[in-house]
């Protein structure tokens, strides 16, 4: 979002973005940290709440729009990105942010990701990745790391209800996918590092084009494997000397499945955007639209 709509009258504090609805998340949910990082990032950017729309799909994390004092759209499972695309194309003047979970964004809605990366609208997409389906109470998600089990030895069925015998399906790597899709801004954060996450979100919002921020946001209720402790152990900050415009380096970093780099992996500031094309078309043909001319063309 290169041209953010900002509040004209005053500098807004993180509290100013808090709605009067209380989050419905379980105690200890990673999404609380994400929400406060968002409040902070919005305050840093001083986003005009009235000209900001937060869109989501369905899932625990997708309830977030209701907790923020902006316009919101809690849509349909997996369809946050195309809904947001419609909003942004129709109203380029608005700040458009999409939030959701890993199931919402990488499974049912996964087919939209390459296309929004191609179109590259000024939209920020924040995925609260908890490696499970929380709202349906603990099934494998596309980012789940389910242990392999032999046919004899069942794994804990309370944890992985639809894969009680384990799974051979590899988890997908969303940031590596996004780099491969040439998504013009790819970052990863961790809900237990809210200051870093807020910084990443600020960068994402200021990025001109589509930005994906994948956030490890552990589910304490249904995922006892990828916990906050797990991610504290396995994540590290991207070295300062990483050049995010180097796509191959970015892909190398993103491909690490042993430990997980946090920060901006990839950025391509010069990628064309569908919004510019649409604006150019409207400008080029402005005032040419005439109903009577159109009718007479067929006469």
């Amino acid at each position: 979002m290169s041209n953010l709509a900002v509040s004209a009258d005053k500098a807004l504090t993180p509290r100013d973005y808090k709605s009067d609805l209380a989050p419905i998340w379980c105690p200890g949910c990673g999404d609380f940290g994400v929400l406060s990082a968002m409040f902070k990032a919005m305050s840093v950017c001083n986003l005009d709440p009235v000209k900001t729309v937060i869109i989501s799909g369905i899932g625990c994390s997708s309830r977030l729009p209701g907790f923020v004092a902006t316009y919101g759209f809690h849509g349909v499972h997996g369809r946050g990105l195309p809904i947001a695309t419609g909003i942004k194309c129709a109203r380029p003047d608005l700040n458009v942010i999409v939030v959701g979970g890993d199931g919402d964004g990488y499974s049912i809605g996964g087919g939209h990701l390459p296309h929004i990366a191609r179109r590259n609208p000024d939209i920020t997409y924040l995925v609260m990745n908890n490696n499970t389906y929380g709202l349906t109470k603990g099934q494998v998600s596309p980012t789940s790391m389910v242990p392999l089990a032999s046919m004899e030895a069942r794994i804990d069925p309370k944890r992985w209800k639809t894969t009680p015998y384990g799974s051979t399906e590899d988890p997908i790597n969303p940031v590596a996918l996004a780099v491969a899709m040439d998504c013009s801004f790819v970052a990863r954060g961790f809900s237990y590092k809210p200051n870093q996450l807020a910084d990443l979100l600020v960068e994402a919002m200021r990025h001109r084009g589509f930005s994906l921020v994948d956030v490890f946001s552990p589910c304490p209720t249904f995922n006892q494997d990828q916990t906050d402790e797990f991610y504290k152990r396995t994540t590290y900050d991207i070295p300062m000397d990483h050049d995010p415009t180097d796509r191959l380096k970015a892909f190398e970093l993103a491909s690490n499945m042993e430990s997980y780099p946090l920060g901006i992996l990839y950025q391509r500031p010069d990628k064309a955007s569908i919004l510019d094309e649409q604006e150019a078309l409207r400008t080029r043909f402005q005032g040419h639209g005439s109903l009577s001319e159109l009718i007479s063309r067929f006469s």
């Binding site: 919101g72 809690h74 809904i83 129709a90 608005l94 639209g289």
Partner: protein, 607 residues
């Protein structure tokens, strides 16, 4: 109300059917004939069926040229032009007695038929000879690219078969080929004449189904239904379109891709139909008038999002250009089989409006109607069209722009915005002022979750009942305000022996059948539904009260419209169904009217 039924000597009513290999000029020849007839001041109604493949398969192009309003593709074919054998085998039936077959004798010979006059035309040979004659005058490259004038030979033959002068065709060839040089023009003129001569030599005493040019008194458009739908949507103020290519709806997106920017609008080709409707819903929620167009398979994918639009009260238009089915079915052919999907295709229940466009001319007005209704009631509107009216070209009077009226959604006033603004305020007609992003004091979260008036999630049974009632109250309001307006009455105004209820592209066909029955002294009334959901129950019941028997013709297998009428009114109707990809002929509807009439009058014949 009664159509023109002039029987003067100068009246024209000719039905020509062209068949040939797809991609080999049949459509071009048809288009040129249509152009010729239009220049002669005749009214045109075309009907085409395409193979589902890009190249190969048989294409059929039927043209009815008439002096006066043309309501249907006509009944029996007077002239069949068969450019290949497969086309003749597939479409060689349904010819009138004494009809003429013009066949490409370079590729086949038809078995003789005493009811038919066969005229041979070695069209490829003749065309090649004409090209040979000018070969030495044209340079190598241009010669290579120059096709033999097969269509022009056909044109000359056809113009002669309908007793038309060749001058307009010659003028047309001059215009089209002028910039390619004198030799090319000469080749085409000579091809035209050789085609004409070849036919003239074989006609003998046979009486030709002649066309009579008439003066063009008023401007007319030559358009397809899809084009009219697109122009109508621009007239309605369309600002955002997202769609995914699907036959036979794609033409709408292609048209709007060219035209929408000039009207200040935006178009996105989505990655699938789900994304297409999701984008439209997003754009509409942000204030734009938004629309998508698809066909049955795409509409199925949109079902979930249609409920979001119903539940979250978002105005959006979805055009379904129906095609034969199910599954991939008959993707290039006509059907009305998506009525059930349009009406019932949802999980649980949310309000929606379903309307149907009835003709090429009407497609313009129904597109405006759809957008207006969506905006007025903040609901999804499904506009049902179908392949037969969407892809055919017809001459129609241009719409009178001053008759257009536009409805915009209800926005909150300054006073309504503020801490007490409730997005889903419970109002007497169920319509709540809709705040748009950017409005100070209007912030809310759109949601498909059951919510209270403010828009916050709320799950109590009391709230669920209250908010569902609020949303469905809008459907009562639709009927109250528009129920009587969104039907058309044809045929007798008083008591009728037979009452016909239909929707969509059957309007002209049923009108023509009705007219024939009226001419025979059978009292037929025809109620044509434009609004299908919410259902105009009272209007239909009042209509039924003045009819002895009800007949519902429709292009479905199971009688979807008849069932829908039964559910809403308790009326059991006679069904006339057919879902084979081809529209009814007026004679098929007439035959059923006649047999029903004979039944209720105890077999007494009127003739």
């Amino acid at each position: 109300m009664n159509q023109e039924t002039s029987t003067s000597a100068a009246a024209t009513d000719v039905v020509i059917r062209l068949v040939g290999e797809s991609g080999e000029g049949t459509v071009t020849l048809g288009d040129v004939m249509v152009e010729m007839f239009t220049q002669m001041g005749l009214d045109i109604y075309t009907f085409q069926t395409f193979p589902a493949e890009i190249k190969g398969g048989t294409v059929m192009y039927q043209i009815r040229a008439r002096s006066g309003t043309t309501l249907s593709p006509g009944d029996s074919v007077q002239i069949l032009v068969a450019l290949n054998k497969a086309g003749f085998s597939l479409f060689g039936t349904g010819l009138a007695d004494g009809s003429i077959l013009l066949y490409n004798s370079d590729v086949f010979s038809p078995p003789p038929d005493p009811n038919r006059v066969d005229i041979s035309l070695p069209v490829t040979t003749l065309a090649r000879e004409q090209k040979e004659a000018v070969r030495h005058e044209i340079s190598g490259e241009a010669l290579k690219r120059l096709p033999a004038p097969i269509n022009t030979v056909g044109l000359g033959a056809l113009m002669t078969l309908v007793n038309a002068p060749l001058e307009p065709a010659e003028a047309y060839l001059n215009k089209v080929f002028g910039r390619k040089g004198e030799a090319v023009v000469r080749m085409n003129i000579s091809a035209l004449r050789i085609g004409a001569e070849h036919v003239r030599a074989q006609i003998g005493e046979h009486r030709l189904p002649s066309v009579f040019p008439k003066p063009i008194l008023a401007p007319r458009m030559m358009v397809t239904g899809n084009q009219m739908t697109s122009i109508g949507s621009l007239a309605a103020g369309l600002q955002f379109y997202a769609g995914y290519p699907i036959t036979p709806a794609t033409e709408i997106m292609e048209f709007l891709a060219r035209e929408l920017p000039a009207f200040g609008g935006t178009l996105v080709q989505a990655e699938d139909e789900i994304a297409a409707l999701a984008m439209c819903i997003g754009a509409a929620n942000a204030g734009a008038k938004a629309m998508t167009a698809t066909s049955g398979p795409g509409l199925s994918l949109m079902a979930e999002l249609l409920n979001l639009a119903g539940q979250a009260e978002i105005p959006v238009v979805v055009i379904d250009v129906q095609r034969g089915g199910a599954s991939t079915g008959l993707p290039t052919k006509a059907s009305q089989g998506d009525l059930n999907l349009a009406i019932y295709g949802m999980h649980n229940e949310s309000p929606r409006i379903v309307i149907g466009s009835t003709s090429v001319e009407d497609a313009f007005w129904t597109a405006i109607e759809a957008m207006n209704l969506a905006e007025e009631y903040q609901v999804p509107v499904i506009l049902l069209s179908d392949q037969s009216l969407a892809t055919r070209r017809s001459t129609v009077p241009p719409p009178e722009i001053s008759n257009i009226s536009i409805t915009n959604r209800l926005l909150p006033s300054e006073d309504e915005l503020g801490p007490d603004y409730h997005r889903y305020r419970d109002t007497p007609n169920g319509i709540s002022p809709m705040a748009l992003p950017g409005m100070i004091g209007g912030m809310y979260t759109t949601t498909g979750i059951e919510h209270n008036e403010k828009g916050d999630p709320a799950y109590t049974p009391e709230n669920a009942t209250k908010m569902k009632a609020k949303r469905f109250r809008k459907m009562d309001a639709v009927i109250e305000k528009h129920g009587e307006r969104l039907v058309r009455h044809w045929g007798v105004g008083g008591d009728a022996d037979i009452g016909i209820i239909a929707y969509g592209s059957l309007e002209g066909i049923v009108r023509e059948a009705t007219q024939r029955a009226l001419d025979d002294g059978i009292n037929v009334a025809h109620l044509h539904l434009r609004l299908l959901q919410p259902f105009p129950t009272e209007v239909v019941q009042q209509f039924a009260a003045r009819c002895r028997t009800l007949l519902v013709p429709e292009m479905t297998w199971s009688g979807q419209l008849a069932n829908w009428i039964l559910i809403n009114t308790g009326l059991n109707v006679e069904r006339l169904t057919k879902d084979d990809g081809i529209p009814f002929r007026p004679s098929q509807v007439y035959a059923r009217i006649r047999s029903l009439y004979d039944q209720i009058t105890g077999g007494a014949s009127h003739e």
